[in-house]
Symmetry: C2
């Protein structure tokens, strides 16, 4: 016997979304959906732009940038030029035993990448996004939220939240 097939609205919507994802079919498993962004080689050696704390997620973050990014930050130039890449590294926010009020980085949670290509990503402010857990991209639904939030809160800084910490 073949099982009855019941298409829910959610399943239909999901199928429709997949058809609009350029890199979904057969894409390597280290590439973000929608944007096709990878974790760049050597990013952990990049210079630090700034750090941050996300108390809702109980995370500390360090934002690194490639040479193109750092040059723009230091010169105070926006929009960032094509070739800019930013990497946000997130870790759990863990207390230091014996020192009240001190918190350091614990286990890694996510790595988030932004790549500037004003033609390729014209519909999302020129930015492609990738959000990775253990080196693997999260799903389409999560990637659909990236630009909406950056657009809502950081449109005055080329859709980039992070400012250079001097």
């Amino acid at each position: 016997m073949r099982p009855a097939v019941t298409l829910t609205l959610a399943a239909i919507a999901s199928a429709c979304i997949v058809t609009f994802v350029p890199v979904a079919a057969g894409q390597p498993d280290d590439v973000s959906p929608i944007f096709g962004v990878r974790i760049p080689e050597g990013y952990r050696n990049w210079e630090m732009v700034a750090v941050a704390h996300e108390s809702g997620l109980d995370e500390l973050r360090g934002v690194l940038g490639n040479d193109v990014a750092l040059k723009s930050y230091r010169e105070g130039i926006t929009p960032f030029p094509d070739g800019t890449v930013l990497a946000k590294l997130a870790w759990k926010h863990v207390p230091v035993p014996g020192i009240n009020g001190a918190f350091v980085t614990g286990a890694a949670t996510t790595v988030q990448i932004m790549v500037k290509d004003s033609k390729k990503y014209a519909s999302t402010g020129g930015w492609g996004f990738g959000r990775f857990i253990n080196g693997k991209p999260v799903d389409v639904a999560q990637h659909r939220t990236c630009f909406a939030c950056h657009e809502a809160h950081a449109s005055d800084h080329d859709f980039v939240f992070t400012r250079f910490a001097r």
Copy 2:
């Protein structure tokens, strides 16, 4: 009339402390007391070791290291070799308007430097310390507290609090 001179115990103690500071007399104003440590050239271009949050001081911190430091961190080797330099940059921990629970770096507060020279700083675990506000070192009394705290809490990691954030 000349004012009467009254020496308090505190003033005497203060004078005595000064006589024990090797670099106090005539030292440049960018060098830490006791240790003679400067803010190193180009430290802001160094790689990131990790980030931290000090809620008591309402600060976020980024710890950077020179090439010697990063090599040791990546190889997991302690004690750190002579020539290791670490720079902790601290900023105010400021909320992001409109995003509940998100905090970023505000105004810079201090820059703190640790320099490894096992002979020069033999009495303080091989480390020289410098704590700077607006590029100027803080006073002798504050510099006397550095090693005691590192010794009490980080003696299992060559007196260095910060671990590498992978």
